[in-house]
Every structure is written in C-alpha cells, then in structure tokens.
C-alpha cells in the first residue's frame, strides 16, 4: 500500500502548522483569518497529492460519521429496491453514506442489524420495522439515536414515521371494484400483526360494509410471509377453487399479487372474465401483464424523500426534541384492464 498522505505530510511540505491546514480543509480558512495566499497554496497541494481525509480519525474526534443505516424488508423487492435507490441518492447529495441491508421480515435479523449499525456509529437509521422490534427501537430513543420508521407503524411506539395511508388505498381499490359491479370480493393477505396489513384489511372491510355488502371471513385468505412461493401459489389456487362464487380478488401486497397471477393462471381462471383482480403496490408485471392489473401504487419517490428529509432534519437539529413527526402519504389508484365494469 503506497503510504497514504496525512494532514501532517501536507503541513510539513508547506511549512505550515497542522492546524492551519486543517482549517483550510474544513473550509474555515477565512473564518480563522488565514491569508488567501496560504489558503490557495494548501488547496493546490491537496489537489496535487490527491489528499483524502481519514474518516475514521474524523469520526473518532467529532463523533459524526455522516453515515446513515437503511434497513428494509427485502432489497430484491421492486418497492424496497427503488426506495433504497432514491434514499441513497438523496443522502449522497447531502454528504451522507448509506449502510443498506434487508431483514427478510425477521425480527432477530433486524435486531442484529440495528446493533451492527450502531456499532458502526451511524448518525441515524431508517427502518422498515418487523414485528417484535419495539424494545430495540425504544432503546434507540433512549440512547438518542435518531431514526425514522417507514412502510408500517409499530403499535404503541412513539417515533418518527413515514407511512402510506394504507386504509385509504385499500378502501379505494375495494370501492372501485364495488362501483364496477363486483359483489363477492375475496382478499388475499398475510398473517401479520404489522400495522399496514391490518389497515389494508380494514380498508377493504370498511368499503364492503359501507356498500352494505357482507364482510365474510370465508372470503379472506391469509398466508404466511415465511411460506415458500410454491406454498403461497398453491394456497391461492385452492382458495379460488373452493370459493367459486368470487367475482373479484384483492391482493394486499406486491408479491401476493404476483403469486396470485401465477395461481389463477394455473387453475385457468381468466382475468377479468372469470374474476377481476386488483392489488396493492405497482410493478412491471402489473403494468404490462395482459390484462394489466389495477393497483393502489405507493409513490416511491415521495416516500423515500420524506424519509431521508425527516431523518436528516432530526440528525442536524441542534437541540433534541421530544416531538415526533408522522408523514402520511396518499396512495395512487391506477385503474387498468383487470377490473372493468362487470358485464
């Protein structure tokens, strides 16, 4: 390794003190009354020698790592992948690096990741919480580590949030089906105490009740997040065969919709002739499938930007506040071919 040059080397070469060089590096040259000429000489040498300040030393001294941690459910998922991308870009613009990782919705993994991140001295965290993460998050608050939760709430935890109005998205989708004449609407969701899935089920229920349609438990299929793709596809296939009366099916999240399409294909149910389909979340498949799928889309960019803005504002705020901020983002109903007016 060609020895890295340090601030000391620069100072020696320029016959200046370390302090002077450091001030220039940190843009405090003028403020400290260092002559323009000196400043110029320092800057020239920095460029010439390709000097890169040692972040570890800086961090050790200042306690600011200019790194944030981003913990999402699944990096391989379209929604999270793109949220991560936008957050990374915005953070970078503002001088922050991002540590990124996925929990696969596993609480143990999530806890370990949070610890690892703290261990690496991140200045703050953006987290998709899993179930059972409340204690760990409370510890963060306790230790004044800034963090923002997104995509879902943790019940009875005061924190900074960026969440979608899940109830509304679900309600809108269901209402759209109802107003197009569908009356026996099934829902496929996951067994989950996480707020967003419950809200989606509620939105569905509310729309049904409002239209004087029965909310029938036998119209609800719940699969488990941990189930393999094959198990989920089979479960959906079985469900629609058993509940032949259904005229529409609502998938409560991205990947359920994907598996649902696969399941319907398998049991030869034609969308929308045999059954209308709508789903939460948008993706390439829904957009381009024939028929294209009606969805409640999450405004990815807005969610990501709000999350990073909120986090950085907390990090950079001088005084600590006890006030938490919640941003609620409205989903966008996109009507497509999979849910036409019923004949």
């Amino acid at each position: 390794m060609t020895k890295k040059i340090s601030i000391k080397d620069l100072a020696k070469e320029l016959q200046l003190s370390i302090a002077t060089v450091s001030f220039v590096i940190n843009g405090k040259g003028e403020e400290m009354g260092i002559s323009e000429q000196t400043i110029g000489k320092v800057i020239d040498l920095i460029r010439k020698r390709d000097y890169i300040p040692n972040n570890a030393a800086r961090l050790l001294r200042t306690g600011k790592s200019h790194t944030i941690g981003l913990i999402v459910e699944d990096l391989g998922n379209y929604f999270f992948g793109n949220v991560a991308k936008v957050i990374e870009l915005e953070a970078s613009k503002r001088g922050y690096n991002v540590f990124l990782c996925s929990t696969d919705n596993n609480a143990k993994t999530a806890k370990e990741l949070i610890r690892k991140m703290r261990n690496s001295s991140v200045d703050g965290l953006i987290i998709t919480p899993t179930k059972g993460l409340k204690d760990e998050l409370e510890k963060l608050s306790w230790d004044n580590v800034p963090y923002v939760l997104f995509d879902r709430l943790v019940s009875e935890l005061d924190a900074n949030y960026v969440v979608l109005d899940n109830r509304k998205g679900s309600y809108d989708l269901t209402k759209h089906l109802i107003s197009n004449g569908y009356e026996d609407i099934g829902i496929v969701t996951i067994v989950n105490e996480m707020s967003q899935m419950q809200e989606r089920e509620e939105g569905y229920k509310d729309a049904l009740l409002e239209a004087d349609l029965a909310y029938d438990k036998s119209n609800v299929l719940k699969v488990r997040f941990d189930d393999s793709p094959e198990e989920i596809v089979d479960a959906i296939a079985k469900f629609v065969k058993k509940r032949k009366g259904l005229d529409a099916l609502f998938f409560a999240t991205n990947y359920l919709g994907v598996y649902g399409i696969e399941a319907l294909k398998k049991v030869k149910i034609k969308i929308p002739y045999d059954m209308a389909v709508v789903s939460f979340d948008d993706n390439d498949l829904f957009r381009l499938f024939t028929p294209s799928i009606t969805v409640a889309a999450q405004p990815i960019r807005e969610i990501a930007v709000q999350a990073i803005d909120l986090l950085l504002s907390v990090i950079e705020k001088k005084e600590l506040t006890d006030k938490y901020i919640a941003k609620v983002i409205a989903p966008v109903l996109i009507q497509r071919e999979s849910s036409p007016p019923k004949l």
Copy 2:
C-alpha cells in the same frame, strides 16, 4: 446522549488495566495468559453494560474497517437488487458491512462513488463498471485497494472478475429460436461499448452464421441506456412495424425485454403467434406473462457468492498477489411459451 462507555470505564470498574480488558474483548485472553476468572469477569461486565467497541477508534488503529463497498448499476433492478441482497447477507455472515449504491451507468457518478468509498476506508470493492472507468480502476490497483468487477469486463484491464458467459447465453437463445424454425430474427440491444452487450450481440451473430442465416444490420435495433422508457418503447414499436418480416425478436437485456413487451402490446403484435420473443435475464414479468417468456437467466446467487468470496479472499490474503482471477458463470436457458416451434 447517554455517554457511551469505553474500554477505559470497564477497566476502571474492574480494577484492571485497559490492555487486559482489550485482550479479552479481542478474544486474545487465553493467548495472553489472562486467568479464566478475570476473563469471565470482563465478559460479564461487557454484557451487563451493553458495551459496544468504537469502530472508528479500531479502524484508526488497525486500518481495517471490515466494510466493503458494493457499486451496482441500478438498485431498483431485479437482478442487481437480488445480487446486492445476497452479497450483503454473505458479507454479514463473515463480519463485514456493506456500503451499497448505484451508478445508473454514469461514469461520473461511478468515479465519485469509488472516491467516496475509499474515503470511508472500505477494505475492498465490488463494482459493476461503467464505461470510461478504466483509469479510476487502475488507480485502485495502484494503491492496492482490492476489488472485484462483475457483470461485465473492462477491456484491456487486468483485474478480478466475476462475469456471465454472455456469448454463450446469447448463442443458446438464438440457436433455440433457429432450431424451432425461426429464420428472420431481430435483436434489440443498447448502444454500448461495454463488453457484455457486445458479447451478447456476437453470440447472436455466431448462431445465425453457423446456421447459414444472414446477419443483417437492419435486423439490429440499438437504443441508448439514457433514453426514457417512452423513447425506448417507441423505438421498438417503430422498429417492428418497419421490419414486418421478422418472425422472432431477441431482447439483449432485462429491461429491454420489459419495454419490448410493452411495445409489442402497443402495436398489437401477438406473442408468439405474430412473433416469437426471447430475452436475456429472468424476472417476474417474464415468468408470469402470458405467454411466459423464454430467457437466458443469470444465476444470481452464484454470481453474488462468487463475487464476495473472491473479494474477501483477496482482502484476507496476507501477501499481495499479482495474479488476477476470473470466474465465468454459465447462464441457464429457460424455454417457455414465447418461442414454440414455428408452425
């Protein structure tokens, strides 16, 4: 911020020297001949106080950050998102953190990211190179920063590589079309000097020539990476309308296939009746679309694992070697409904 406890605090509380505590923390207790009892007491207190070593100080002292940088083309893309996920998981298992970011195939962004990563003292890098990155990568070699390139080669640069056998994947897809009776096969690719796109075009060409079919420039459509989705869709739509004689279309990468499906839908060309379709890379859409799309898939897990293994072996190797290693991964041809034997 509740003051963080340091190794000094632990030492004071236990009436031991800092060195003793440090040895225990680093598992060198026995080696240094510290009594079992003392080791036990230290470990207990660490747990009790929830002590987390300060990584910055460690890094400053040892020069090892246990962090690697991962620079991919686009985190929002199915392939890269999943590669990132696997790399992150494997790195984590082996005690490494990952800085992750996307270049959007922009050389300037890539250069900045590499600098930022170095600045953050990563122990090594895994990079999807963009065009025009050769100088920056040579600097890395020069400074003995370990790195592994993946997904594509940089011409005339000796380095560690993990790449797909792109020529073979393309050749296999084209040959598959030919043996199913297609004779006028178009290809949609991107204007790009990057090795993998050239190899894919070559594989296509080789298969044609081998079958005594003409390799006709007018059957090749090249779009630009920077073009907007709408522009690409339009270009493809125009291309197929102009080249009505085509009986099959080969998309050289994931997102071109996605846009291609959209374009064909727009101009009402039915797959596979009017035109067979095959694509490089697999994804949900290709798998579930009706008809499902024949692809040459990249074994994501294998690519990711090979890349991280290769990088960590270089990082952890004591002596520096001048030998570079190239791993070539075989793509997997998955025949589906979009390319049946021609009637």
